[in-house]
Point group: none
Chain length 195, copies 4
Amino acid sequence: MTESKRQRQKAQTKEHLIETAYAVFSSRGIMAARMADIAAAAGVSHGTVFLHFNTQEALIEEVVAHYGALIALETHALAERCGSMEELLRAHLGAISAYEPFYTRLVLENRMLPTAARDSWIDIQSAVSLHFNRVAERESSRIEKRGIPDAMLFNMWMGLVHYYLANGGLFAPEGNVIRRHGTTLVGSFLKLLNG
Amino acid sequence: MTESKRQRQKAQTKEHLIETAYAVFSSRGIMAARMADIAAAAGVSHGTVFLHFNTQEALIEEVVAHYGALIALETHALAERCGSMEELLRAHLGAISAYEPFYTRLVLENRMLPTAARDSWIDIQSAVSLHFNRVAERESSRIEKRGIPDAMLFNMWMGLVHYYLANGGLFAPEGNVIRRHGTTLVGSFLKLLNG
Amino acid sequence: MTESKRQRQKAQTKEHLIETAYAVFSSRGIMAARMADIAAAAGVSHGTVFLHFNTQEALIEEVVAHYGALIALETHALAERCGSMEELLRAHLGAISAYEPFYTRLVLENRMLPTAARDSWIDIQSAVSLHFNRVAERESSRIEKRGIPDAMLFNMWMGLVHYYLANGGLFAPEGNVIRRHGTTLVGSFLKLLNG
Amino acid sequence: MTESKRQRQKAQTKEHLIETAYAVFSSRGIMAARMADIAAAAGVSHGTVFLHFNTQEALIEEVVAHYGALIALETHALAERCGSMEELLRAHLGAISAYEPFYTRLVLENRMLPTAARDSWIDIQSAVSLHFNRVAERESSRIEKRGIPDAMLFNMWMGLVHYYLANGGLFAPEGNVIRRHGTTLVGSFLKLLNG
DNA sequence: GATGAATGAGGCTTCATTCAT
DNA sequence: CATGAATGAAGCCTCATTCAT
């Protein structure tokens, strides 16, 4: 019993650290954040971080895995019942929206992350891809794709979204790219897609 | 004569350092490259780098300025006489192609670079933007843009290209994204653009 | 308890570093001492010094502030109840005596120290000046000053003491100028002062 | 003949370097001056300094020897025919006056200089001491020294002068201590000396 | 389980000195 | 004789990681 209380306590601290690391990663950058920053932001001691995560790499991997899974889940949840491409694109942006600063960091830093974290990133992409292909196929008759493969349409959409996110300082200096430009992005992409 | 020989020597060393730094930046990342890496790669002593560049920041700025100018110039040169959008897109990729690994680093790291280097990056973007808008306007009658502003088309194109570059490990593990996918990118984008 | 033990530990280490730095400064010079010297002399790692003092400048400031305050306090304590000039001069030398090597470094290097450290130096001088003027005024009737202002007498005394300290290698090769010449200094200065 | 022209040229360059180093030492400090500073101030290449002086130490030694000799000579010249203590003290300050900034550096830095340079410093002191003792002896009957040995009087005088020089920032922020306070110093010292 | 002081490898920068031209 | 590019030892500082409490 006492044991389980301790374990619960420990689990709570770890969760708190993951949430704090997520916030610090979002604002300062994943690779640029120092372990001491995260400890301070979490209000725990420097050493406590290492009690829960053996290395900085492990911390990054867990945080990216955790929020990567959340984003992928949210994507699935929102995209599942989308019948039209418009719905899907909105769902995609909706899933990202709540995580925008962190997601943007992933867009920019995914290449430099530990392998496991890169895999989490790929999982997110796969989640979107899955539904995109499903809807694209279903709508193939209604969409004038002029022989462009679905994969390329997907890349165009992702490229457009990531371009806006990566250049957030330009498109939305206040820091909320999707809220500000989401509708425009969906609209323009659909106009291009349809005749 | 003697004087100019030594000056040439120094200029050569500096140029060699810029070229070496360019290569190291391309492969290891701009911010991740250490001064010692560059010195070793150039076959000079650690201190020599500081003889030619007062600080690491200055080195980054000069290298980005140098190759940024090259890329912008090449873009202008190739894009200048492009009458059609297809020619322009090919020209754009052609200009980037020779600098692909470095350009890709700029895509990913430009936000973290010193101000002067960020300006160089913006200059490159402006060069492309200039010609894109020129050609888009000229072709406006022939292109079915369905009410999409030129700026959005530009963003879509840049987003697509940068997406492929940033995910080069996926699209071209051997490291040459543009050579491998350039034609497809241009073709798909144009198909989408035209009826 | 456990907490306070560790805090005591840390405070002890910091105090130890200040004491060690004081010793190193005394023997090698304040500006000439390297951080690594102090770490080695204190038997701690290089990084530990930076745990307790953010910069070399901060270390110098703290050490000078600490021992400067000690010297000023001792000066006040010893000089407070001095009624005669002779008592005061002895008190002054007595206050300096225990800190002679360090004080001598301050005499020679104070101009080159960080601003905060220079202020500490000025505080020491002010402490002496204060009591000197008090006693000089009180004894003005008994002293034949022949129209020499108190400030000039003070400068003469300080000049004499600092001259002996600065030329310690000449006056006391074993390193203890005040113990060896203090009485003579006081005696001679008083003889000059009085008829 | 060509040889001797070259030699003359070399000797001139060396002299120029000594003069320049003297100026740089005076303004920036002897130990704080960098070889490159001196080369730049002299308008010669960095390497040229090493052509004339094997090491930084040698440069310091030669400069201090050169100007130390000048100061000692000037002291002798001015002090030689001084019959009274007042004349002598004025002569002493007169000899130092033209070299005040450099002399002040010697006051503060002599302990840290190479051995040979310290010897030059001692030579200057000896020159003053010699004449001081001579005049003091001659005037011994007229001066009320109250049993204070000549050496102690000498130290008092030197201490007073050096104290003013070392605290020049306080006594003469414009940088000319002797011109501003010389007369006062001589006057006060004499008043104290005589009944 | 939590703490935070201590560690030390690694990075940037300076500057006296050398040497090929 | 003069030059100045190149060298590399040495110094300051950062930060992930460890471990005694």
